[in-house]
């Protein structure tokens, strides 16, 4: 695995000399800020509602974790859905159009060094995105009385306006794992084609299918199917990313959900390795 750093480092450097990385980072910052403000706005409207109807006991139970940070992290998956395929689309497709695939495959590299090196570069980028967006909820951890919290709570009286750190970390962990899974799926898509645009849309389609599996499963149960049908819907729900992510985003850390993400990342990396190797036996 001694070439891992060389492959990942080259990939990251190329990403950052091209405009793609900066376009993605800018777009991400803007969207994250927008969704964060939206969450805060939603929180203020909820508080206003309960105050207006005089439900002061409910109002007191509202908190930043469930009303702002949780929804913010949950909505960010949509941003990841579109941006991460944009980052991974070139990983292998570019090697084919540049002809550098021949350089890599005739160098003393193992297939795993190549695949993991590429994935590592994408994973590093996902980590940068997570760190960027974590700045927004981090604002809420400033001491009460600061302009930010003052603005949010002006005119309202809550039992405990301070958010809880661990719950936020759990949510960010969930989003990070989701991002890594998306990176693995994107890496795989890029290995299937020499066209970046095809790789992008293929990754988008795969990720949407993975997300919607649980919706399909719910439809099956709603029709009142029993036995095999309900077992099938159980499998579909487990395979779908949405339920596992939602639990983490709400702050519930369950090792079964963590195992799911590890399983998905591993599966798509094995698929990528097989696909990259296939030029040898096609």
């Amino acid at each position: 695995m001694k070439h891992l750093g060389a492959i990942a480092g080259r990939e990251l450097r190329s990403l950052f000399v091209s405009p793609v990385a900066y376009a993605v980072l800018t777009l991400f910052a803007v969207l994250a800020g927008f969704f964060f403000l939206l969450s805060v706005q939603g929180f203020r409207e909820t508080m206003a509602y309960y105050q207006q109807i005089g439900q002061f006991d409910v109002l007191r139970q509202l908190n930043l974790n469930n009303q702002v940070i949780g929804p913010f992290i949950q909505v960010m998956w949509i941003v990841f859905l579109f941006l991460i395929p944009g980052i991974t689309m070139g990983l292998f497709a570019n090697e084919k159009t540049n002809g550098t695939q021949e350089l890599l495959m005739t160098s003393p590299l193992t297939m795993w060094e190549l695949v993991l090196g590429k994935f590592l570069a994408a994973a590093a980028f996902v980590t940068i995105l997570i760190a960027m967006m974590a700045l927004f909820p981090a604002l809420l951890f400033l001491d009460a009385g600061t302009p930010v919290l003052g603005l949010i709570f002006s005119g309202f009286d809550l039992a405990d306006p301070n958010p809880e750190g661990l719950q936020m970390w759990a949510g960010l962990l969930g989003l990070w794992l989701l991002g890594l899974t998306y990176a693995a799926v994107g890496t795989f898509s890029s290995s299937l084609t020499r066209n970046q645009l095809v790789a992008f849309f293929l990754a988008l389609a795969l990720l949407l299918i993975l997300w919607l599996l649980s919706v399909v499963a719910d439809l099956g149960v709603a029709e009142g199917a029993a036995g095999t049908a309900s077992r099938l819907s159980g499998v579909l729900t487990w395979l779908s990313t949405s339920d596992h992510f939602d639990k983490l985003a709400r702050g519930l850390v369950d090792t079964r959900d963590l195992a799911y993400f590890v399983f998905m990342i591993g599966t798509f990396l094995v698929l990528t390795k097989t696909s990259v190797e296939s030029v040898r036996w096609r």
Binding site: I7, S14, S18, N98, G99, L103, M105, P108
Partner: protein, 245 residues
């Protein structure tokens, strides 16, 4: 240095390379000739470990390319038909990356990159971005990449294609230089080309392949001693039966 035994490559029903065998020793410069689609590139890709052969065996510097692929690949420098370059990288950055993945020891990387830049006449453009270089310079970066780890075997697929006459002369000079036993350790160089004059200028031995089969393996001296030009031989070997006048 290169031992190829009955290398065969089949794509479905199509036989791209049919039982090609040859031996090449240290210090030999071999011209690999044949019409388009004859199987030159496929043969080279098999020897460099890019493609597996359907049948047959090959050893590079004593390492079987199927059983010890990493050791065999370490012993080969390869310039594919299109130089494998990352247009967004600068020349030095690219060569440093190649040095890492070709297992050049850390302590020797800097000197390896510098000597490759020097030998390929790239010293003046070493900070330039590859995408902004002319075709001739890109070809040189491709050759620099192939010789960087000082491999005993060099495989060059059409190293002068698409260059202007002056660039062609420069690249030929560079190849002759790489093969010069007085300047370097004995190397085996195999280069494919369409240009017969090129073979006569720098190679001492010629292999000719036609429709996947090896049709000629001879020293250039022997051919010309018999009074035939390389062009005559090429035409005779590659014309289909019935087409011959």
């Amino acid at each position: 240095m290169i031992e190829a035994d009955n290398i065969t490559k089949r794509y479905g029903d199509f036989l791209a390379v049919d039982q090609v065998s040859f031996r090449a020793g240290a210090g030999e410069v071999i011209g690999f000739l044949g019409p388009n689609g004859a199987g030159k590139t496929t043969t080279m890709r098999i020897l460099t470990g890019f493609l597996p052969a359907t049948d047959g065996r090959a050893r590079i510097a004593g390492h079987d390319i199927f059983e010890e692929p990493l050791a065999a690949r370490r012993a080969v420098g390869y310039l594919p038909e299109t130089p494998p370059l990352y247009p967004e990288m600068d020349v030095t950055g690219y060569l440093e990356f190649v040095a890492k993945i070709k297992d050049v020891p850390r302590a020797r990387r800097r000197s390896a990159v510098e000597s490759a830049l020097e030998r390929c006449g790239l010293a003046d453009v070493h900070r330039r971005v590859i995408g902004s270089l002319s075709k001739g310079f890109r070809q040189r970066v491709g050759i620099a990449q192939a010789i960087l780890h000082d491999p005993p075997v060099l495989i060059l697929d059409e190293p002068t294609v698409g260059l202007d006459p002056i660039q062609i002369r420069e690249i030929r000079g560079l190849i002759a230089d790489l093969a010069d036993p007085e300047k370097t350790e004995a190397r085996t160089i195999v280069l494919s080309t369409h240009i017969l004059a090129e073979v006569e200028a720098i190679c001492r031995r010629v292999l000719m392949i036609h429709e996947g089969k090896m049709v000629l393996d001879s020293a250039i001296g022997e051919l010309t001693a018999e009074g035939q030009s390389l062009e005559d031989v090429f035409a005779r070997m590659t014309l289909r039966e019935g087409e011959a006048a």
